[in-house]
Symmetry: C2
Subunit: 422 residues, 2 copies
């Protein structure tokens, strides 16, 4: 592995640009190459790298060319969703450690392809699910390990984010929907499950002693996007009058091999404050996020907890004292050094864990089995909804290895404190 | 109809006693008869009626005998669940206006029997779902009618109540579980859906322009009750070591004819504060209960709201100002006169609405079609869980009348203010 590690970046829209930005301050990372089809966007990124006083990366307009020419240790992929898995597979074939931005799978089959390619090539792929690094979620996992929740029984999560404006954006032609709107136009599914599912799958030890077995999904009617367009768009706007496929609220219930359930909500086309709807419940107590807000890089959360052994009466308590009492070591160090921008600091932690594993060519904390199980929720909910709510089975992408893989192997932030590069 | 109306009470456990208590202060009600098999319990009730300075009721040990002998205008039934429908049917056949305490149906068929009997006899039955009279739920319905939520899309509700201690109680023999524990011992279903479903069905105009079409239900493992027994019961206690059928958390998703979904949670065997988990969401905004507590006769609730047209930024607001701004007229009067005991005042309002309709022999605000659709959630979730989460259809107990029955016909608290008898 090079020192510093040589990273490439494919797809440099607003998300890709912000991931690159998070890496600019890392002393052990070289922004070695960038890939984007837009001359203007590449120039913007080069200017930003120069401003940061870092060496200028090579520039490419094609992912495959970059992979073969740029001698990369790792590549961060943050393209439109349909390109995620094909580009990740291309990188794995080229022996480049993938950092894959989250998104929806197009099919269960492509999740299998990702898994098979990683297994065949022996190259690693980390799924960059930043929500796994939320301060409260990591403290909750400490508390679970300490036995405070007893035996886990039920979790909830979701993605509640008013995307009505951005889903109506048009593509570069100005004549049809951009890629994310197109997904919502044509697919009735939980299109963005992993921000919720990721941290709860980690809580439930999915793929490490447990697994998702089946799910049912139910969609409401689609009313929010049309109501928004009616109110806000000119009748001749290319996104006006669309017959949206996506239901406003998609409710999914996943069953786990160890008997727990996980309820997942997708809710992006109604007016509402941001929420990941986290909820963890066991024989010893219950925790839930109560208020959340996300604006710019700022994340504010409040949560409530009731632990049978600790809480007075039958009343909810503020989670804040538990947060500090059970702080994850990585957040202790991070808070002391100063939390970076990017979704309340989690973007930096995620990429830091990625870089740390690239440097050692080590199995990532969120691997292809996790990526496959979490991303597959999209096509599987699509199937269940199409079948009127029928339960559908979730493949075991580990082919049985979940039974012998123990937590905390591959756990986000595990032993990470020493390598924060803050 | 007599004046005062002559009411009988069948089943006088703690719940029945408390319902009778709520009627003692009503000037237009005579406690005409009581029915209970226990000599001791009848004596207690007679003493309580005497203490209140009211005439002494006739006493019975058999429901049918009371119905034929006591010349009743109405009868309040609050027996164990399996007796609810059979006793209601007996009363309908006798021409006595039924007030039916809530509970689980044993089968879909008995829900049909209740409907058919009411239709054939022309006698009314009101389902005494007190939660329909919650102050916030009635204000929310005012706000929905005022258009503040736009088109409704999704609701949630549930029954989160730590019943671990009471479910382990033994029956009079001291050797086996009492009736409610027995239900949980033998049935894996949402055994207590109506406290949540009732108010949300009213919000969604179910049976009045809308109806429940189908549902899926998923149960977690059963861990909470066994863990409780292990910790709290002697090994030779008759309720120790039971293999409970009920999953700790049952998640149900109901689909409505008009495209909305309603998620219902049953959660009675884990440590947790009380909650009905109300949540209402439309194209105009979202409301949810955030904190609830129930202790003794006291109910405290807090909720959060975000209305696109009203709320600043993308932030939750405290519901309190909206509560006062959209107060239901019956609660305005009730608050001014002084709220009575009994689940924060809702018991009195429910019984008051019952008495008001008995006096006029009028169709009740919560009728047999509502009772059937809400109670049927129990056997239907039982079916879906037994089938591994398969969607099951919800019968149309109105046989098509839901399409022509307009809200607010039969709406709780409709035009009730003038007859509060406070």
């Amino acid at each position: 592995m090079s020192n510093p590690v040589r990273l490439g970046f494919t797809g440099l829209g607003s998300r890709g640009g912000s991931l690159l930005e998070s890496c600019l301050s890392m002393s052990d990372v070289e922004i070695a190459a960038i890939c984007n089809r837009s001359d203007e966007r590449r120039e913007q990124i080069l200017a930003r790298v120069a401003d940061a006083g870092r060496p200028s990366p090579s520039t490419f307009t094609d992912h495959g060319t970059m992979l073969s020419a740029a001698n990369l240790d790792g590549v961060v992929i943050s393209t439109p969703w349909t390109d995620h898995v094909p580009m990740a597979i291309e990188a794995l074939e080229a022996g480049v450690y993938v950092g894959l931005e989250v998104g929806a799978a197009s099919s269960v089959e492509e999740c299998w392809e990702l898994v098979h390619t990683a297994e065949r090539t022996g190259t690693h792929c980390m799924f960059l699910e930043n929500t796994c690094y939320f301060r409260d979620c990591l403290a909750i996992r400490n508390m679970i390990r300490a036995g405070l929740f007893g035996e886990l029984v039920h979790c909830r999560c979701g993605y509640g984010h008013d995307l009505r404006s951005s889903l109506h954006r048009t593509d570069a032609s100005g004549e049809s929907l951009a890629w994310r709107g197109r997904q919502n136009r044509h697919r009735n599914a939980d299109l963005y499950p992993t921000h919720g599912v990721g941290p709860m799958a980690k809580v439930l030890d999915v793929n490490r002693g447990n697994r998702f077995v089946s799910l049912t999904a139910t969609a409401t009617k689609s009313a929010g996007l049309a109501a928004y367009a009616e109110e806000n768009l000119d009748p001749d706007h290319p996104a006006a009058g669309i017959d949206w496929a996506i239901g406003d609220v998609i409710t999914t219930v996943l069953r786990c091999a160890n008997g727990e359930t996980l309820t997942v909500t997708h809710d992006v086309s109604l007016p509402r404050p941001y929420s990941n709807m986290f909820h963890v419940q066991g024989t010893g107590g219950i925790w839930k996020r109560t208020f959340e807000s996300l604006s710019g890089g700022e994340v504010k959360t409040e949560s409530a907890i009731y632990l049978e052994e600790e809480s007075p009466g039958h009343e909810w308590e503020d989670f804040a004292p538990y947060q500090t009492g059970h702080e994850h070591s990585v957040w202790e160090a991070y808070l002391e050094a100063g939390v970076k921008n990017g979704h309340g600091g989690i973007d930096y932690l995620t990429l830091r864990d990625y870089v740390r594993h690239v440097k050692r060519d080590a199995r990532p904390p969120i691997d292809v089995y996790d990526a496959a199980a979490w991303m597959a929720v999209t096509p599987l909910t699509e199937d269940s909804i199409a079948l009127g709510g029928e339960p559908v089975s979730v493949p075991d992408f580990t082919n049985g290895a979940w039974m012998t893989t123990e937590p905390p192997v591959g756990e986000p932030a595990h032993e990470m404190t020493a390598d924060l590069d803050l």
